[in-house]
């Protein structure tokens, strides 16, 4: 190990320092000022100002494109939980906000020919390693239209089979409602329910089942509010 540290320390140094600075006068002035006490705070101030200016410029140059990209992402993931051709409105801008456990939940309304046909919203539940965030779509009949994991930090290879790209598991929820299966069967098979767990990972699917069930109960509890959603 010490060998390596030495090699690192023996980096080629001072290359180019021998060059005569082209703006000689300015550099001698700076060199004289550089050791003065007041030089340090002024320098730090200038650097901070320049950095802030650069960040402000970069932020204003990119904010439009970032907002656009995020809206596109959201539209894509919303469209993925809804069956094809389910909605004909711009559900991204057709929303109601309902409070759940003290936090507002944005509900995107999917309409067909003007009347609400389904609602899409986010649910979250604590998984094996941190929060699992899901996007779920529920039809007016109270049946799940689709469930998709949008963020999680479950174990790769074990718990990540909840992702749509890794396995078909999340499709099991489609068509399920609070009465079908019966409430006590809303669990993984190990707990006497109807949903598969994965070999080596029970906590993750258990959390997802709980989240979806909670989402359906939330929808049922606020049905009138959601369906009468603002145009």
């Amino acid at each position: 190990m010490s060998e390596n540290l030495e090699t690192a320390a023996a980096a080629p140094q001072g290359l180019g320092d021998a060059e005569v600075p082209k703006t000689g006068g300015l550099y001698t002035l700076i060199e004289r000022l550089r050791e003065q006490l007041a030089y340090q705070p002024v320098l730090l101030g200038i650097v901070a100002l320049a950095a802030s200016a650069a960040l402000t410029a970069a932020s204003s140059a990119t904010s439009g494109a970032i907002a656009e990209a995020q809206a596109r992402d959201l539209r894509d993931s919303l469209a993925q939980v809804l069956p094809q051709g389910f909605a004909d409105n711009d559900f991204l801008h057709d929303t109601v906000s309902i409070e759940r456990d003290g936090k507002p939940v944005t509900i995107y309304l999917a309409r067909k020919a003007g009347s609400v046909a389904g609602a899409v919203f986010k649910v979250a539940e604590r998984g094996y390693a941190g929060e699992i965030q899901l996007l779920m779509a529920v039809g007016v009949d109270g049946r799940t239209l689709g469930v998709r994991v949008i963020r999680h930090s479950e174990t790769p290879g074990l718990g990540d089979k909840i992702e749509a790209g890794k396995s078909e598991w999340a499709k099991d929820f489609s068509g399920k409602s609070l009465g079908d299966p019966a409430p006590e069967r809303w669990a993984v098979k190990k707990d006497g329910g109807v949903f598969d767990q994965f070999a080596g990972a029970t906590i993750t699917p258990r959390a997802v089942v709980k989240a979806v069930k909670g989402g359906l109960m939330f929808f049922a509890g606020h049905r009138a509010q959601i369906l009468g959603g603002s145009q």
């Binding site: 180019g16 060199e31 650097v47 439009g64 790769p156």
Partner: protein, 229 residues
């Protein structure tokens, strides 16, 4: 002069490789190398930041007094990373979705401050730019190799999702070993340490062989000289 640049390039790519020799930046190296594609992407983003920070630090090296150089460099690097982060989010959004979490981590990559402090602060602009590129590509190479090995052993794939990073024309890089589920351990952090350990040992063997070759060469046994090179 060209000799100097040759030295810098050789140093960055092999002799002082950020990961394999300096053993810096091991945190991002372990965190992102679950696949070859992730390693490549992280390496390229780091190369961009490292080169830009080396150039900037070299440009202002005469105006920065040694007492406050560390805060100045830190502000510089943090701003650069933030700008890269925003630019990628805006214009390379697909790539950003894969690497987004790790881009911010470049700030704490000690290799960047290390190069600013030990090289760019003492060298000319061109030499610093070359050093940034060489160190960056050395880092990229190391991350890609570790990532590929872990990905192949852990998931049975090679360069999975490379077309998402490099564009659809690179889909030919993607390979999958049929019927092999992979050893999960290699994807998890211990696998990263194990792969790094074997690679370090391998580099040591190569280096000591070429050192022996060089010794033999200077002793006059010119026949054996290139055996280890």
């Amino acid at each position: 002069m060209s000799d100097k640049y040759g030295e810098i390039i050789k140093g960055g790519l092999w002799e002082q490789n950020v990961v394999f020799s300096q053993m810096l930046a091991l945190c991002p190296a372990m965190a992102v190398t679950t696949s070859g594609t992730n390693g490549l992407g992280m390496g390229l983003a780091t190369t961009a930041v490292l080169t830009a920070s080396n150039i900037l630090v070299s440009l202002i090296r005469k105006t920065v007094s040694s007492q406050v150089r560390i805060p100045v460099f830190v502000v510089l690097i943090a701003s650069l990373v933030t700008i890269v982060d925003m630019a990628m989010n805006a214009w390379l959004h697909e790539l950003y979705k894969v690497l987004g979490l790790f881009i911010a981590l470049i700030v704490v990559n000690c290799a960047i401050l290390g190069r600013a402090e030990s090289f760019a602060a003492k060298s000319g602009v061109l030499a610093s730019a070359v050093d940034g590129l060489a160190m960056g590509f050395g880092f990229t190479g190391a991350l890609t190799v570790i990532g590929l090995i872990r990905e192949f052993l852990g998931a049975g794939t090679v360069f999975a999702n490379a077309s998402g990073l490099l564009g659809p024309s690179f889909a030919f890089l993607e390979m999958k070993l049929p019927g092999y589920g992979g050893a999960l351990l290699m994807i998890l952090p211990p696998g990263g340490f194990a792969v790094l350990g074997f690679l370090l040992a391998g580099k040591r063997i190569l280096d000591s062989r070429s050192a022996r070759g060089a010794q033999a060469d200077s002793a006059g046994c010119s026949v054996a000289s290139h055996a280890g090179a």
